[in-house]
Amino acid sequence: MFEKVLIANRGEIAVRVARACRELGVRTVAVYSTADSDSAVVRLADEAVRIGPPASRHSYANAAAIVEAARQTGAQAIHPGYGFLSEDADFAEVCADNGLVFIGPDPEVVRAFGDKSRARALMRGAGLPLAAGSVETLPNVATAQAVADEIGYPVIIKSVAGGGGRGMEIVRSPSGLVEVYARTQLAAQALFGDNRVYLERYLVNARHVEVQVLCDSYGNGVHLGTRDCSVQRRHQKLVEEGPAPALSACTLDAIADAALRGALAVGYRGAGTFEFLVDDAEGFRFIEANCRIQVEHPVTEMISGIDLVHEQLHIAAGVPLRMRQDEVRLHGTAIECRVNVEDPDRGFAPTPGRLDRFLPPGGPFTRVDTHGYPGYLVGPYYDSLLAKVIVWAPDRDLALYRMERALHEFDVAGPGVRTTIPFLRRILDDAAFRKGRYSTGLVERLMDPPGPPHRSDRPHPPGGADNPGTPGASELAADQPTPGRTP
């Protein structure tokens, strides 16, 4: 095992990694921007290096500063968390060039999955079903039209270099294709410096199901079951659960097996997630893979008993996989709710500010991952995830009641601060959600409910005027802090 690991992230995931390291006897180096001097991980880690100003491109996404900090402190490995540099193949290479272990897959694998077109081709080669559409990059709008006509509308045009829900748009009928094609190309160029796009059949009200895999450096791999992440607002996941509900065991096994097959085919190493869309008939299609630990990884930890960050560290240190597939046993149901510092009544706008009160829930089968504490000043620089509440129960019904209880306890208040807690409770209260029969359309429906809300702490404001009402929520979920969101 490593003696010292640098944590190249902030917020709750940095705390998460610091905990895992301490449990394994690994010393930790936190890095922080000037906006995060008082952050939880700075206090929990054994050492801390200030690496830059608040803007993440000069701090948390600043490869040079992070590598220098690792060199100064003698860290042997870098855990990138999620977002920032976690899926940056160039950073993984710079680490290797400087004798540092990047805790993640090989740079080539990261690069392959970062190119959606290549990823689709690789996974098709591994025998995974893909959504109907163009496997390769579209050479021109005429080809786009031909493919769309063949597979039928609606379709979704996506940036090849994109991911995490950005650089994509839905086309509902042939008349819109030319315009959206051009707009997506422009957006792709602006966001990723790469204007290539491709096209897929868009599944209305599909379920977003993903599979957690773990692979070592020696060709061994296991899957740890599924998670359903269909509860999304504009590609942002709000609630996740595992195993995916209301799907047959047979389908869940088939999806999980497909994911593992895909991971082993490309020589994946570490913890990874393979995302699929599942339609009404339980047909499933690969959409993308994430080469990092996910925000929602605790869901899998609670149903499997396996600490995924421990396993990441063991695998990166060259230890062979510590479990066989037949030793993986999943029990019960786990649900995660993301408590963001956002105002659900104002289009989920971030509401940074000081937390006068911060009292997360506790008690039986309840886990909270957070960097918050009473008096913490939530700054405006980074993403708005403040805490993840995860509960476990032997069955899904009890898990839902338990989550309701946990959110009821959670007390967060400060001048100007709002959280997603009331909206999360509205989701938990929804009849379709309770039945497990929901899809990516759920949040949109709840944001403008036809009738009066039930049992919700804060009544919906009259007229619901703050709902921007933009249709076109897509199926992909952003899982990472937006690196560029700086003042």
């Binding site: 008082d38 100003p53 608040p54 040079a64 500063a65 100064q72 940074p352 504490y373 000043l377």
Partner: protein, 167 residues
């Protein structure tokens, strides 16, 4: 996004830090200064400073860091000569993580020495990062009061390198 709300938050945190510090360090108070511009908490006690009570865990998350500013809400511009690290003292700070060198090469004359009167733009040292040598220049004129980092030592972002008496 330097909204008034956020600014108030900074002040509030400063006040809290001051309060915690006063609570944690015994002794008769002489003066408290709270600033916002560069986020400073300064507290003076009468007589000898007493050590913190052993009962107060030093690693409390929200206690003020032992040194350094509580927060620097504005990203630094090109001028890196600002008061940082110690309240009221003018410093030239490192714009990056790296290794500080006082001279262009081992054994050479240092770029500056205590007592030097320097002009804006004068190179005061080099910070090596990723094998690149980055010259650090003074943003303001002044007299060098102290060189705060030894040759060849690692520096953090924003760490004070030179204490300057502004001219």
């Amino acid at each position: 996004m330097s909204t008034p709300n956020y600014e108030d938050g900074v002040l509030a945190v400063l006040r809290q830090q001051a309060r915690l510090l006063v609570a944690e360090v015994a002794g008769p108070l002489r003066r408290i200064q709270i600033r916002r511009g560069d986020a400073v908490v300064e507290i003076e006690w009468h007589g000898e400073r007493r050590a913190a009570e052993p009962a107060e865990p030093a690693a409390a998350w929200w206690a003020a860091p032992p040194s350094g500013p509580a927060a620097a809400p504005e990203p630094p511009g090109p001028d890196v000569s600002r008061p940082v690290g110690e309240a009221g003292k003018h410093s030239i700070v490192s714009p990056m993580v790296g290794t500080f060198y006082r001279a262009a090469e081992p054994g050479a004359t240092p770029f500056v020495t205590v007592g030097d009167l320097i002009e804006p733009g004068r190179v005061i040292g080099v910070v090596e990062a990723m094998k690149l040598m980055n010259e650090i220049t003074a943003g303001h004129a002044g007299r060098v009061l102290d060189v705060l980092v030894d040759d060849g030592q690692p520096v953090e972002f924003g760490q004070a390198l030179i204490a300057l008496d502004p001219a």
